[in-house]
């Protein structure tokens, strides 16, 4: 194994790190949501890569990633909806302003 799966994993890791960096640093809520999608897709990439090239190839990984995509879509929809509501109420989409749990 090893060498064949490595590029996939590297790409997934890079994607994940980019997503993580975006999720933790960006001010704009939309970008944060996008970064989370990026991280989810990095995971999906991992699942697919292992389901094809892993020690025990099986369809389970691919089916699982399909589920993931579905859920990510739903999550994005809900997330965007919440963001829009917040924007309407507060007039901003800056995540730094979203600390009403604390205040």
């Amino acid at each position: 194994m090893g060498s064949i799966v490595t590029p996939y994993l590297t790409l997934a890791a890079i994607l994940f790190c980019v997503g993580l960096y975006g999720a933790l640093t960006k001010k704009n809520g939309v970008i944060v949501l996008l970064s989370i999608e990026l991280m989810l897709n990095a995971v999906n990439l991992n699942l697919v890569a292992f389901s094809k090239l892993g020690d025990h190839p099986a369809l389970t990984g691919q089916i699982f990633s399909l589920f993931n995509i579905t859920i990510a879509a739903a999550e994005a929809a809900v997330g965007i909806a919440i963001l829009i509501t917040i924007y309407r109420n507060k007039g901003t989409s800056d995540v730094n302003e979203m600390d009403s749990m604390k205040r």
């Binding site: 999720a23 933790l24 640093t25 995540v95 730094n96 600390d99 009403s100 749990m101 604390k102 205040r103």
Partner: protein
Amino acid sequence: MVSDYSQYAWLIPLFPLLAFLALTAMGRQLKELGIYISIVAMLASFIVALLIFVERLGGHVEDYTWDKLSWLQVGDYTLRMGFEVNNLNALMLVIVTLVSLLVNIYSKGYMKGDERIHVFFSYIALFSFSMLGLVISENMLELYIFWELVGVCSFLLVGFWYFKPEAKAAAKKAFIVTRIGDVGLFIGILLLFWYMPGHALDFTSIHNAISSSKIDGTIVTWIAILIFIGAIGKSGQFPLHTWLPDAMEGPTPISALIHAATMVAAGVYLVARTFDIFHASPDALLVVAYVGGFTAIFAATIGIAQNDIKRILAYSTVSQLGYMMMALGIGVSYASGMFHLFTHAFFKALLFLGAGSVIHAVHTQDINEMGGLSRKMKITTWTFAIGTLALSGIFPFAGFWSKDLILSEAYDHNQLLFWVGVIAAFFTAFYMSRLFFLVFMGKPQHHGAHEPHESPASMTTPLIILAVLAVVAGFVNTPFNEWLSHWLTGQDHEESANWTVIILSTLAGLLGIGLGYLMYLKRSIPRDVVSSRAPWLYKLLNRKYYVDEIYDGGVVKPLRGLGYVLELFDVYIVDGIVRLVAFVIVGLGRLGARLQNGQLQTYGVVTLLGMLILALAIAGRRFIHAG
């Protein structure tokens, strides 16, 4: 003959206790009535005590002991409480109840107008209860309990005017200094408990064990000396005498009752009560005799140079208590010491109450500001004169006979102590005549706005009764008829009048009075004959041999310094550690609170960091395992 009244001796302390409870519960409501309750209770006690005393006078009456009350049971050992009546404590009962009764009556006039008068009377009642309980105690532990109780009452009454800082300090001093002695007494009781067959602590068993010498001689000496340390504290003997003169900050009736006639005599009574132990140990007796003798002359010399009327009397009390201790220590029997206690109680209470009457009239205690009171206060003057003569040991007043008995015993057994006694008697007569002439004779001084006047009848009546007693009390035991000695100890003494002693002691008394007369009334010898030629000597006496200063520098200051160092340790080390712990926790909490800023991204970073640390830890662990 079986005694009829002795079995009711438990009533004697009970009456004052009831009065105390009534006054404590509703003193404020009872007002004037409360005072009468107290007086009537004391009168009842006095009557019972007198009945017992009179009954015991007639012929040989058996000692009555009742110890049915089992107080504490540990294993096989039972600690019993009860009471005992014998000739010794029957005499004490009469002294205590009589003086207490008279002081109660006197206080009604003296304390009139004090808004806490009911508290005062309740304290006196509590004191009488404790003192009488002490006297009829049947075992050492019971005695010790009452011993501490009288100490508490003394503390309360010395500090009765607690708004005066001197009174507060004096009360504390009285309590702490006597406590040093009490520790000695307690250790003595423990030793006794340890070595007595069957751990019995009652006086009968002690008597039996000592007389059949069941206890090792060295131990007996130790026990005796430890008990004597308790007596030193309570009876104001050197070196624990310093509290007694300071205790004069209390109301004057208290000085008469507690610090002259009864409580301070408890130490003498204790030694007399446990005289078997002392008698078995000649070394301990010697210690008692020399401490007593030294105290007698030491305090008498201080008395010469004092200017406060009550302080002079206080040092005189210390000196006379020293006399009693010396008499006990000479060791013939406890009769002479108890006889002096008996006469001293009357004339010293008389002198203190007379001093109270004077203070009541002129509102000062400095004898240099008094003078010529004899014209204004006839009764006080006459009674005080009788007290002075009795204390100076002039024939035929009470003090003469008791002092003579002590001196003649000393003459036969210890010449050194005899001369100490004679010189002390000379000083006593001198300072008493100085006091009397300065206060009552001479030119009247300016007394401020109002003229001094005679005190009310409630104050003069006790004075007259005590004056009569100060005259006649001595006749119960003359060299020609030693009735009291015989009655107290049951032993026959050869009736011997030692004329050398009689003449020498009278001479000492007369010389002292004569010198006082020449110096302070006739002024043919200048008053400052000593203070101008040897100011250091006057200063030494006036400052009481600097004993207070020595204690202050030698004990109080170092202890206070140690306390200060320990306080620093406490504040900076112990508290410091506690504060450090608190500070660290608070800091951690602040840090945590700053993380909880509501920013989702911050939480994310922290989670990521935690994740990384976890990953690193697992990886590191694997690395170490592999290595």
